[in-house]
Symmetry: C5
Subunit: 322 residues, 5 copies
């Protein structure tokens, strides 16, 4: 069922109103309205068109949850789609914003925490709405953009972590775990990047000095979010390069580890081969093998074996194969 | 043989007409015409020039099925080429659209299902044609664009699937199958990308606010398809990165698997080498080998073998080589 | 020695003329001239400047066969350099075109088949020259551009072929051949790409609607070649990606094949190690080894060997190492 | 605690003033002021807004140490954020510059040596401040930009060093160290690149000929820093390519080293296998083995072993496996 | 010590003059002057500012040998910095050009052969200077640009050479040499690329039709050098791709070679394992081993060994492991 929240700001005070009332107040001078519809029913969506008078194509886009972030200007309102991450998740959801001179309507199918936070802020501090619907849009977008940073910070931490693990972890399980981690980080970074670039385009439009639906005194705020967005896209590009370099370096590390294993195998083969050869020599059944008759023959053979093996061992040690 | 379909919309009703009749109605005010020619014969193509009066270069392009998506404006009509995927296939075919103030002619050499669907929709709901030939062009293009999404969704599913398989599948056959799958997905993604970018250029032109052949009330629809197209190109870029990362990660996984195999080989060599050395020692034929005379000599030797092998085994276990 | 061909078109008829005559007819209204100079001598090159009056820098460029495709406008003519592939070869040669209101002079140091073909067409159909020197330039360029497609088609075929071979060919010789083939295709694709991009720039200029040296009715033809060029650059980009992906995938396949070999090696080592250990045990010379006295001792030992080997074999089979 | 430095230049002389005094002198003609605040307290930050009259959004940005380099024009001043490296470190810090017609205020949370150097220069040579606050900004930025070069030089040295080490170092430890070094250089280069590009954008703005806050006679100085910046971004791009090529080449070197190890292993196996087979043949207990009775049988067997091993050894030597 | 050369062209004749004289002639109509200063002393640099009147920032840039190629317009002269390769070397040096209406001053710290060549040409053919200082600048730049081609040709030759070596060279030493060669070519190509792109930007400016310091009749010459520069950047891009592809292909070749080695190792293990097992069987000391008593037992055992080894050998041969 739809959870609807609608606030009207009039004369310095804020009051909760019904959706119908909110729609009637659209365009009334001196009033600022914020209506938030979570999990809209078919009826709610129809009301957006009939009650609020928004263009049916915009309403259709709002119902289709696979939109790309965009800003679309219609004759008497602007329609903003933002793909955002709900806190702690990497599955993007869609936040639709209808913005007009005195009203802002937000529509979303999933619970978005930053919306709740802004609503709570608003109840504590009603003047927030008094700065106009564009300022409220700014607070919402700012929250959504700031929620992207923890993802990027975690990726950066993982990379720092990787640098330590890179050369230490040599067991196949740890290696596999590191590979999984690197691949996961790469996918996560791509997920952030995928929503960051279209959002940046949206903010390029909104932070324009002469944008119709943003009051001039609020432009610096949008420019500020835009700067954050720039930093996010910078970070995703940087992460992308670092992660690629990490994967490349790790492949070389794995190959190097293989070298280590193979050298050990060769050393094992070399060390044990010599005594076996000696043993098989004195195991031959020739009638005339004078050494076999010696009293100390056995001990000399044992000594030879040990000596040869030690020699081999030292040879491999010195060459760092063991 | 050519399958021709021609519809004329006049006074709120729709009627099937012959191709010749359709050509005559070109330019008649109040009538909207859609002629669809599948597998055109030489005669049909000639008729496009002589009957409908389209420029012969456009008709030539329509006959050559290896065009790139493009939009070309001629003096009195616009010629649109779209490369589209027939449903479920990855082999692009060509859809040619001749668009004028009151007529739309579509020409294609292969059966394109989205054309059939639009035709069926039209027979159910004749007013579709009443909105003008540009709106019909929009419905056609919209269908073609939407038919690209399943391909991309399948690729995304494969990638998600890959993440699970990446570390599990270690047999050479499964690995080969996964490599084949990754390579196939890469080619498929490239195929979508190849047709998506030129189509996006076409839509950039058609969604321009002041484009002559699109009525202003229909511009938002084209802008909508354009947004879909943006999402498609975004997705292909994203898929491309993910698939590259997958291939890279998989190469590292294969190398890591090789490490596992080599460690096992080295462990096998190490574990069996010791008893063999002991065996070959006591198999020597020296006359003076006191241990051989001991009553418990044999059992002690067996014990040594077992003990050494177990020691080796545990050493390799602890170091995770086994 | 230079092979010179010069045609004059006057009053619907075409006649062969000498180079000197051709030069005199430059600028004469009503006459259209095409002079083609193959393997120009020093004298011919000097005549271009003195006889035809072309700027000496253009003539110098025409003599230097290492130019890049370009179009250069001089005061009273335009100078076009095209790097083209002679049919079937991948070694680019240079085609120089001097174009003026009523004359086109082509200069090249190697035999270019498309020039010959156009000459043959012209002798069959003299009106070709009647459409102006710009149209003749179009036919020439169109031929050269179309000669690029077979190269790209062959690359695409090789890639399709590769997909089949990728997993089948495991012998080192076949692998080496496949690698050589992939590398060769990559170089070939690059060779096409290298000449395609500058040629595209040339066509961007020539297909401009208001280009001085191209008559307006011929613009659609140049636009058409330009579209072909777009398709070629598209294809080279696509091929590039596919070939990179192929190489990457093949590297993984080779690594995977190595896994197969190593697993077999480990299996061989494992299967033979056990009977050897058993054999060396019963080959020891201890006095007190009761099993040796058993009547069935030997057969039991043989049975143990067989049993252990079969167990090993089955173990490796089940784990798909063999 | 905040360390504050404020200088006022008046009538050719320089004097230390308090922050409050500095704020009062803002806008006074004939006076040039530089105030530097290190580790600003909350009170200092508030004073920037209230005392100096800077816009609160700029002050907020100055307090948030995770900004990206940028230049923001406000109504009566320009706010510049620079991310710089403190000498010898790779951890970027933030330098905030408020610039006006006669005042420059610098705010930073960490000690930045180039600021100290400029302060020292200023005390020696007071006329530095006489050239205006924009010139002082130039000296600061110039210092910060020049501090980037040592990082890039070190990376280039490492690469030159790498070329020597690439083929020499074959022990796993050295290889691992080289990989770590390459990866570290890549990260360092990325860190420089990350701060270089936004800084370049800042300098593009400041070096514009008609920029309001830079006097025309000082423009060449900013253009000069801009050229340095260009060189830095060039170098980072170059380093990036070289480091990628290094990593790629090193992976091939490691694979090649593996080949060396494997060939040695195969040679060891081959050389020892033959005497073992001979030994095990003559160790068989058949009653009728005539060779066993020969007087020279044992020596012949030993000779065979030696001969076969030498043959093997030479075979592998000639084929460069040993 | 500085080597100074100064030429004055007056009335069709050329005369050597002192630097001081050259400075006095700056701006005199009818005289054209070229002053070349190699290894300038401090005094020379100061004279550039005081004697010739060039802006001190330009002179500073000329003294700093780590500039990037650039063109900077000052009020009454243009300052050009070119990074060029001295013949046969890959270490770029800097050529500074001060260009004015009637004077060209070149400053460089290292001997640049193309400058010497131009000086020699000039002494043979004094009219060269008569065409103006811009034409002399053109001859200098043209020489420097043409000196880049041999580097690129050598890289292309190496690549062609590589294609032959790729599959032939299998010994580790040859492989290492090939890797070193590829890496060296990559660095060399990057070095060319690094100086080519900024130089191209310089030429874009100088080849502009309306550039103040280049006479209109000399523009085609600069356009010509610009075309050469385009070809150079094209070639570096092409080389870059080919070298990357080469490295990638070579990595695959090395992996494939490893496969060959491993297969041989496995074959050696397989071939020798069987006779060893047979030998160890008949070397067991069981009392009851009937085969041992057979007259032909030994020969049968030998036959078995040979037969099994041959079988193994043929198996591996057929499967192309040997």
């Amino acid at each position: 069922m739809a959870k609807t929240r609608a606030y009207a700001f009039l004369g310095g005070k804020i009051s909760k109103v019904s959706l119908e009332k909110a729609a009637q107040l659209r365009g009334k001078p001196g009033v600022v309205i914020w209506a938030d519809i979570e999990e809209p029913s078919k009826h709610d969506l129809a009301f957006l068109e009939k009650g609020f008078g928004f263009h049916h194509l915009a309403v259709e886009d709002a119902s289709n949850t696979r939109q790309r972030s965009k800003v679309e200007e219609y004759r008497d309102f602007v329609f903003i789609v933002l793909r955002v991450f709900p806190k702690g998740s990497c599955e993007a959801t869609q936040l639709n914003i209808f913005l007009d001179g005195n009203i802002i309507v937000t529509v979303h199918f999933k619970c978005i925490e930053s919306v709740i936070e802004v609503a709570n802020d608003l109840e504590k501090n009603p003047t927030l709405l008094g700065k106009g619907p564009d300022f409220l849009a700014y607070t919402l977008i700012d929250q959504c953009v700031d929620d992207l940073f923890p993802h990027l910070d975690e990726i950066e931490d993982s990379v720092d972590d990787f640098e330590d693990r890179m050369l230490k972890a040599t067991s196949p399980e740890e290696t596999a775990a590191t590979l999984k981690m690197l691949f996961g980080m790469k996918k996560r970074n791509l997920a952030v990047r995928k929503i960051a670039w279209p959002m940046r385009d949206v903010l390029t439009v909104l932070a324009r000095r002469d944008y119709k639906y943003v009051k001039e005194e609020n432009v610096p705020y949008f420019r500020d979010v835009y700067d954050h967005m720039l930093r996010i896209t910078d970070m995703t590009e940087m992460n992308r390069e670092v992660l690629s370099a990490s994967m490349e370096a790790y492949l070389a590390v794995i190959s190097n580890n293989l070298n280590v294993v193979m050298k050990k195998l060769a050393a094992i083969a070399g060390i044990f081969a010599v005594p076996m050869v000696i043993g098989s020599i004195y195991g031959m059944n020739f009638v005339n093998m004078p050494e076999l008759q010696y009293d100390w023959g056995y001990y000399i053979a044992l000594g030879e074996m040990l000596f040869a093996s030690c020699l081999m061992f030292m040879y491999f040690r010195v060459n760092k194969w063991l």
